[in-house]
């Protein structure tokens, strides 16, 4: 499967893959969406966009198990400015994998992605390999 199946054509309101990736590199917090126990979950995570993948930390536990059991999860970032009523939204859909390779994790340690202060046990790394990246400008 190719890494990006989305068209690069820029049409009204639609962001190119390159624009999406630029936004992903500049935005520190996004939301993951996954199904667990038949129920949809969305929650914000600290992340980095690295080598075309979305990397975030999580703790050992049911959330990690839920994510790992999914074939594809959604990851979304957006920005909305109330005054100008403009904004944008980027969606990444891809397969999540826990990263256990020590060398790769050592590389991640340099990303400045620290566990959140009240969740110091976020010592597991998950990487989303995108099947598609789409984005739109909103105004």
């Amino acid at each position: 499967m190719s890494a990006h199946t989305v068209s690069d054509r820029i049409s009204l309101g639609r962001l190119s893959v390159q624009e999406c990736e630029g936004l992903l590199r500049r935005t520190p917090i996004g939301r993951i969406g996954f199904t667990f126990g038949g129920v949809q979950h969305i929650l914000p995570v600290n992340y980095r966009y690295v080598d075309g993948t979305v990397v975030f930390r999580t703790a050992t536990g049911r959330k990690l198990e839920a994510i790992r059991s999914e074939e594809a999860i959604a990851f979304e970032v957006d920005r909305w400015e109330r005054e100008t009523r403009t904004g944008w939204s980027v969606l990444v859909v891809g397969r999540p994998n826990e990263v256990v390779d020590d060398e790769i994790i050592a590389g991640f340690e340099g990303l400045g992605l620290r566990p959140w202060a009240a969740a110091p046990d976020q010592n597991r790394w998950v990487r989303i390999s995108p099947n598609r990246i789409t984005g739109r400008r909103i105004d």
């Binding site: 996954f34 914000p44 600290n46 739109r136």
Partner: protein
């Protein structure tokens, strides 16, 4: 069902959740279409503990939203300090067709996320409201 995904310390009481929701104008819907997850932002308003929002017709997403259960998420995150909150409303999304409800939605000032010729008004009647503080850096 979802209780085991959050620790007791982070949980917000329901009235606090509604208070926080009323302060925001943009939330995100999480849906699943053809086994693929999706998250997209929408404008919303709260009225009597229901969520009113507007979405353009013709989107596959509109059809997915009208499926029995959706998750709707709102958050506010201070990206510097990584503190904030996230509220997830789960419930049934229904399309408003009665004139009194359409007028109410219009009165509430629900605006479409993106301009469309003919937009549908949707209402989410919650079956559950859960909120959590995000475990960021101490102040």
């Amino acid at each position: 069902m979802t209780e085991h995904l959050k620790s007791p310390l982070e949980v917000l009481p329901e009235d606090e959740c509604w208070h926080l929701l009323s302060q925001r104008t943009v939330g995100r819907l999480a849906v699943v279409i053809n086994n693929t997850p999706d998250i997209f932002p929408v404008n919303f308003k709260v009225w009597k503990q229901a969520i009113f929002l507007q979405t353009a017709p013709g989107l596959k997403l509109a059809a997915a939203v009208l499926n029995p259960s959706v998750a709707f998420e709102v958050d506010a995150v201070d990206e510097q300090r990584e503190v904030g909150w996230s509220v997830v409303v789960r419930g049934t999304a229904i399309e408003l067709e009665r004139l009194d409800e359409l007028l109410l939605a219009d009165d509430l000032g629900v605006r479409p996320w993106a301009a469309g010729v003919k937009n549908r008004y949707l209402k989410i009647e919650p079956t559950s409201v859960t909120g959590r503080l995000l475990p960021g850096r101490p102040l």
